[in-house]
């Protein structure tokens, strides 16, 4: 069966995270979005661990489901079209490792996925002696990533360790300001136990395939959501049976059970291009090389973006495309499409919300609408404009302004200034 998997997200016990990131909201929004396997996040946090223990119960081996006494009421409030969607939880956490290795300070985020509360508890006990797990759902630990990897492997044979958003400049394995140049440099002899890496919002699989050193890894995508609406903004697509070991196996081997990923347009990520946000300077890798990577306005060093960093480490050209590769589905979140189509600034506006709910009720979850629903049916349930926008998105026919230095990029279906075609024109055309 096809499973949409999002392993990396944060509970309300993490910093700068919406209070709605509780198990109930994650459950409901998981169904709305069309996610089937969703990480709990933050299992190292004692209060969150307690919530997990109390509200979830074992389902298929290594997977958990929300207890019926909680899910019943939530399901009542969901439209019938998605009410029976499959939603399972899987135990995950992200750790921020800050440490010195080879005489440089490294700041690397890693995602850990475990098959049981027992394994989670093993990790919690170990990490409790290393730092404070109470103050943040995503704890900061002065622990070498390699040591965290060892603890993860010790916790259970099936536990997984996935370096998170590997290209983020400040906090990642390959980050220009924080990381390493190779997986081996980062993890030494133990690098062989790492089977998958998370590409993050700022990069897509095509960018990563430029590095032959990444050929042996499965490229996974997750949302790293800090609020329920952002769940599944990226995700992995699996085709396997419903159990932890099947899911882990699919990710570890990257075989035909790992179908591919659902991707943000990478330019929308906060660190795609190089630049300096305080001065509003944005540059492609080539442009920034011309100014010696210094801000032309203030002279400070530019924050070099993911595109630059990838070019630094890549051994294949910019336009490299593997002969055969996993599926890559680019999406723009439905709420954003609706905001654009309806000329509303905010994707959380009331108009958007009502149109969103209308589409979900008629057609099912968001991923189905964005990826699979028949365009004509979308037009019927919503309108022509929305249908056209989704069709354009599926064809990757979108307008893009790349993100840089912490500023999100802009991805629009229609080029700004280019008038959104009215219903009338659309129907005349079709």
């Amino acid at each position: 069966m096809e499973l949409i998997v999002d392993l990396h997200l944060h509970s309300h016990y993490s910093r700068a995270t919406s209070p709605n990131m509780n198990l109930e909201s994650i459950y409901s929004w998981g169904k709305i979005k069309g996610i089937n396997i969703i990480g709990t996040g933050d299992f190292t946090h004692p209060s969150w661990f307690l919530e997990i223990e109390q509200k979830l119960e074992p389902a298929e081996p290594g997977l958990f489901k929300l207890k019926e006494k909680y899910s019943k009421n939530l399901d009542k409030n969901l439209p019938e079209s998605i009410r029976n969607n499959l939603m399972r939880f899987i135990l995950t956490v992200e750790i921020s490792n800050i440490y010195k290795r080879h005489d440089k300070v490294r700041r690397v985020h890693n995602v850990v996925v475990v098959p049981s509360l027992k394994a989670a508890s093993f990790i919690n006990a170990k990490l409790d002696t290393i730092g404070n797990l109470k103050s943040d759902g995503r704890p900061i630990l002065g622990l070498d990533s390699e040591d965290l990897l060892k603890i993860t492997l010790e916790s259970s044979e099936e536990s997984m360790f996935i370096p998170a958003h590997i290209w983020t400049p400040w906090f990642a394995m390959f980050g220009s300001k924080s990381g390493f140049d190779s997986v081996e440099e980062a993890f030494g002899k133990n690098a062989k136990y790492i089977k998958a890496v998370e590409t993050g919002l700022s990069s897509d699989p095509f960018m990563n395939w430029r590095l032959s050193q990444l050929d042996r890894f499965t490229l996974v995508s997750n949302s790293d959501a800090h609020s329920a609406r952002k769940l599944g903004r990226e995700a992995s697509i699996l085709n396997c049976d419903l159990s932890y070991s099947q899911i882990a196996d699919a990710i570890n081997t990257g075989d035909e059970r790992f179908v591919g990923t659902i991707e943000f347009f990478p330019q929308e990520g906060k660190y795609h291009y190089s630049g300096h946000s305080k001065c509003g300077v944005v540059m492609s890798p080539e442009e920034s090389a011309e100014v010696n990577h210094k801000c032309p306005k203030c002279g400070k060093e530019l924050v070099l973006g993911v595109d630059h960093r990838i070019s630094e480490l890549a051994d294949r050209p910019h336009d490299f495309r593997p002969n055969k590769h996993k599926r890559v589905d680019y999406i723009v979140p439905l709420a954003e499409i609706l905001a654009e189509v309806n000329s509303v600034k905010s994707s959380t506006a009331k108009t958007v919300e009502s149109k969103f709910n209308q589409l979900i009720a008629a057609l099912g979850d968001e991923f189905s609408i964005l990826r699979n629903s028949n365009i004509k049916k979308i037009a019927q349930a919503g309108n022509q404009k929305t249908a056209e926008a989704i069709s354009k998105m599926r064809n990757q026919d979108v307008y893009i302004e790349p993100g840089y230095d912490g500023v999100y990029g802009v991805v629009k279906i229609f080029k700004p200034g280019q008038h959104v075609q009215s219903d009338k024109q659309m129907s005349l055309l079709s």
Binding site: S47, A125, I130, P139, L141, D144
Partner: protein
């Protein structure tokens, strides 16, 4: 031998009774280890050599440097005496601090003296080793000794008092000699063979335990009694140039030459409150490690210099460190405080341990026991994830013992250290913050004390110890007025900063209050 400088080599090859004055960062432990190796290489029988250290940790470190196969005895005074006890005697020794506290409490009740446990312990100890004969101390010690006698046990002081060495050594080394007391000195004397040699190592300017009976004039006494020769190490490998210049100005006879090429930095920060002091430190640490979260990452220094373990916050007394501890925790910066991180120290943890250790519990599951405690979830929450993975209590207790031995901190952990000045001795860090340097708290003369020359000198030594922990960055923080010690120190290379942001904020707040 090749890795020694001239002065270090001179000590290694010199024989006879010696005093080695070794200032901070001069490679004292390394030199001492080389000396031991040198003796063994020159056919001195290992069993004729004894090296006494101040702490078990120091002994362990030296043993590690010398290698496992060495039969050389490196231990503490207590460790040495303990070896001579029979198994029965060993069992009668009170090793548990909590147990000792029970006896002290009882003695306090009997004598109706109003002292806290720590003070009482100190007084009893001083009395036993003959360092005080003050009336109250004597009666307290008498009551306490009687309690021990009734129980048929002895404490660590008794262990040393009763120690009659069975074996004498040709070579006796005493490390951290400035921290030994007269009793330990007498023991040292009784350990030396007739034609033996004694060599003591230390730094009189780092003597910070006179309140426990240590006496820094033992250097002079030893020098006379043993006609010992004085040698000195004055090349330091620890502090950058500016820091060395500053710390040299503490004492006229201190003139360490730093071998480091870096200038380093000293900042002297005036800030309005404990809170602003803590904020300053938190922001600086974030910059040092290059940011701890995305919210501040892009404002950080170009190249982060330090990981958490390269940073220490040092204070004269625990109360001065409390606010900064809270702020660091709040900002999710991992810290270590000796013994202070454990979840087992709180109420639920203690209750759990007590129940787990009672009989017939070993086969039960930890979660069952937790349930039996009938404490609210909020209190036991932190224990639950910990206990989840154990099938039974005996598994848990085994692991608990290992944790305890490591002070509940993983040796691999990389954390910001929060230390008292006393606890900072012997350690070094890239960046050192010393907080609470206002005159009120440095020197810290307590209400019932007199500000004697002797006390002032000890306080100054504490400040010296704290500031000489820094390798590259030394940040001194104070509320006005600053410690009078700074009046006589060389502040030429010190960057004086007034924390304007904090003062403005404070002003704004007081204006708001007025309105």
């Amino acid at each position: 031998m090749n890795r020694l400088n001239t002065q270090q080599r001179n000590f290694v090859i010199s024989s006879g009774n010696l005093i080695l004055i070794a200032g901070p960062g001069t490679g004292k432990t390394h030199t001492l280890c080389c000396k031991l190796e040198y003796l063994v290489e020159n056919s001195i029988n290992e069993t004729n050599i004894l090296a006494l250290t101040f702490t078990n940790k120091a002994a362990a470190e030296m043993r590690k440097r010398l290698g496992l196969d060495s039969k050389l005895l490196i231990t503490t005074f207590h460790g040495l005496a303990f070896r001579d006890l029979s198994d029965v005697q060993k069992q009668r020794l009170v090793t548990d601090e909590l147990q000792r506290e029970v006896f002290l409490k009882k003695a306090l009740q009997q004598t109706r003296l109003k002292l806290n446990i720590k003070e009482a312990g100190l007084l009893v100890s001083l009395c036993k080793i003959g360092e005080t004969n003050e009336k109250n101390a004597l009666s307290l010690a008498k009551a306490y000794n009687q309690i021990l006698k009734d129980k048929g046990v002895i404490d660590y002081d008794d262990l040393l008092l009763r120690f009659k060495p069975k074996k004498k050594y040709e070579y006796v080394f005493v490390d951290e000699f400035q921290d030994t007391n007269k009793l330990q000195y007498q023991i040292t004397k009784s350990l030396v063979a007739d034609n033996g040699q004694v060599q003591v190592v230390g730094d009189p300017h780092q003597s910070v335990y006179t309140f426990r009976g240590a006496s820094s004039n033992l250097f002079t006494i030893f020098e006379k009694e043993y006609k010992a020769k004085r040698l000195e190490l004055n090349q330091t490998y620890r502090s950058a140039r500016k820091i060395t210049t500053f710390t040299n100005s503490f004492y006229r006879d201190r003139n360490l030459q730093t071998q480091l090429t870096e200038e380093g930095e000293i900042e002297f920060i005036e800030t309005p409150s404990r809170y602003s002091e803590a904020n300053y430190i938190v922001e600086k640490i974030k910059r040092q490690v290059g940011g701890v979260d995305l919210l501040n990452a892009s404002d950080v220094l170009k190249d982060a210099q330090s990981d958490f373990s390269g940073i220490a916050v040092i204070f004269r007394s625990h109360f001065l460190g409390r606010v900064v501890e809270q702020k660091l925790k709040k900002n999710n910066i991992p810290i270590q405080k000796a013994g202070g991180n454990s979840i087992w120290a709180n109420k639920a943890g203690q209750a759990f341990l007590e129940l787990a250790r009672t009989k017939n519990m070993l086969e039960k599951s930890p979660l069952e026991i937790l349930h039996e405690l009938k404490l609210p979830d909020v209190q036991t929450m932190e224990l639950r994830p910990y206990l989840f993975r154990f099938d039974n209590i005996s598994q848990f207790l085994n692991e608990y013992e290992i944790l305890k031995q490591n002070d509940f901190v993983d040796p691999k952990a990389n954390l910001v250290s929060l230390l008292t000045m006393h606890a900072s001795k012997g350690l070094e860090f890239e960046t050192v913050f010393v907080v609470g340097l206002e005159n009120k708290n440095m020197p810290m003369i307590l209400k019932y004390e007199k500000e004697t020359k002797h006390r002032l000198a000890e306080e100054k030594r504490l400040l010296y110890v704290a500031t000489t922990r820094a390798k590259q960055n030394l940040i001194l923080l104070y509320k006005k007025p600053k410690s009078k010690f700074f009046d006589t120190l060389n502040l030429n290379a010190v960057k004086k900063v007034r924390d304007e942001k904090a003062f403005k904020k404070r002003l704004r707040q007081s204006q708001i209050k007025l309105l």
